[in-house]
Amino acid sequence: MTIDWLAFLTVLVVSLVSACLLVTLFSLGLRLNDGPTAWHRPVSVALFVVCAVVVILGIYLIVPFLHP
């Protein structure tokens, strides 16, 4: 009986960082989307694009024959 605690810790940290990153990006996108000044909107769109990239990365990880 061996528990790979290092693997578990890696999973914990990676999932924590990636989920929080996605939520932060999307939240900032929403926050800036109805912002008062002109530069807010393009930045928010850019943040949504980054979110889309994260989702595509997720699909890449899910589908086995996209990666070796």
Partner: protein, 397 residues
């Protein structure tokens, strides 16, 4: 014993298990978007079904050992016969149906492991089970999965509520569509594989397919269809438990929960520490319940779910063991097994009919819980789609 008949029965039961696996696990991905109104119930299950169908074809790697190493298979170990697989499947199906009836999101993989373990113990004694693997691959991860996902979704919820203002939060629903679809796709690439593995193993054991070969095309297609059909049929009882009964979920929480579920599942499959999708999803929902100010977690419901996880392996194991004992009588025993299993399926179905829970429970807000939203200038008024707490029968029904 007639091998062809036995293999045919194994295939039929494996597909039934795949179907139960589908509707049991719809909730993992779709409970939160349905609860927040991000997706209409029927649309949500349709998306999940399609993604499960696609996912089954996308992944070509079939689990080498259907039991995940719990049972000492192969040389010097247990000879897993088709009859034992049949008994294990019966244990898994019956337990999946019972937990569905009770609305408990329990792991279908654990039900399958449990059924096979029970059958293997009857077939070859307790020596057939690797206790160390049971603890390190099933029991410890079962405790860590909800804790990990809960922590992640708790922090994600805090971040979401810290950054956004109230009037922006309904737009998390758009994001929810994508995150819940990711969970669904991940589920599809994993879960149909188990059934493909079971069927292929039975075919190999019966000498109908060369050793070491992958699943035939018809096996992949049949499994994909079975899990997609199961997913589309909904499993509304479990969706209700996960989406409504644990805590009241707002769109921002839904988005946080799905992000946490996706991230945790993907990290666990790629970094070598397998966690159960069901347990991760349940943990995420509890985490978001703790993360939002003013939200509360119904610990009674959470406790019931945890209890369900604890007894999943022993229960399906006992059923699998009983079925394996019967199957030792020979052909009559096997047929009796199948008849009893069909009887159990019918019984659960009839009990479930008496108190139906279906898609309609999620589309009509209960009377009396309406809160009229504040009207805002130049913004369309928010409707009350944000989850009412109790669902009641549609008046016209």
């Amino acid at each position: 014993m007639n091998v062809t008949l036995l293999v045919a029965l194994v295939i039929a039961l494996a597909l039934i298990f795949d179907f139960t696996n589908g509707f049991h696990d719809t909730a993992n991905a779709m409970a939160t978007p349905i609860a927040t109104g991000a997706l209409k119930p029927k649309v949500a299950v349709a998306i999940a079904a399609v993604l499960n169908l696609v996912g089954a074809f996308l992944s070509t790697e079939v689990a080498k050992t259907i039991s995940g190493g719990l049972i000492k298979e192969g040389d010097g170990g247990v000879q897993i016969t088709p009859a034992l697989i049949l008994a294990g499947l019966i244990g898994a199906i019956v337990w999946n149906l019972v937990t569905w009836l009770l609305g408990l999101p329990s792991s279908s993989s654990h039900a399958l492991f449990g059924g096979l373990i029970g059958a293997a113990i009857v077939g070859a004694g307790f020596g057939a089970i690797d206790g160390g693997v049971l603890v390190s691959k099933v029991l410890i991860p079962a405790a860590l999965a909800p804790l990990t996902a809960g922590l992640v979704s708790f922090l994600a919820t805090k971040i979401a509520y810290r950054i956004t203002r109230k009037r922006e939060r309904h737009r998390f629903k758009v994001g929810q569509i994508f995150t819940s679809s990711l969970v669904s796709l991940a589920h599809g690439t994993n879960d149909a594989q188990k059934t493909m593995g079971v069927i292929t193993l039975a075919l190999i054991a019966a000498g109908m397919q060369p050793t070491g070969s992958g699943p035939a095309v018809w096996v992949i297609g049949a499994c994909a269809l079975a899990i997609a059909a199961g997913t589309y049929s909904g499993g509304w009882r479990i969706i209700k438990t996960l989406g409504r009964d644990i805590t009241d979920i707002e769109p921002a929480q839904g988005f946080a929960a799905e992000s946490a579920t996706t991230a945790t599942i993907l990290a666990s499959t790629h970094l070598g520490f397998a966690l159960s999708t069901t347990q991760v999803a349940s943990g995420s929902v509890i985490g978001v319940g703790l993360g939002r100010k003013g939200a509360s977690v119904r610990w009674g419901t959470a406790g019931r779910i945890a209890l369900g996880w604890l007894i999943t392996i022993p229960s399906s194991g006992v059923i699998g063991a009983l079925a394996a004992m019967l199957s030792q009588l020979g052909l009559i025993g096997v047929i009796l097994d199948v008849v009893l299993a069909l009887g159990a399926i019918l019984t659960v179905y009839l009990i479930a009919r008496q108190r139906r829970i279906d898609a309609r429970h999620f589309t009509h807000p209960a009377p009396g819980v309406f809160v009229r939203p504040k009207l805002r200038k130049n913004k369309p008024a928010q409707t009350v789609a944000t989850a009412p707490t109790v669902a009641t029968e549609e008046p016209s029904a």
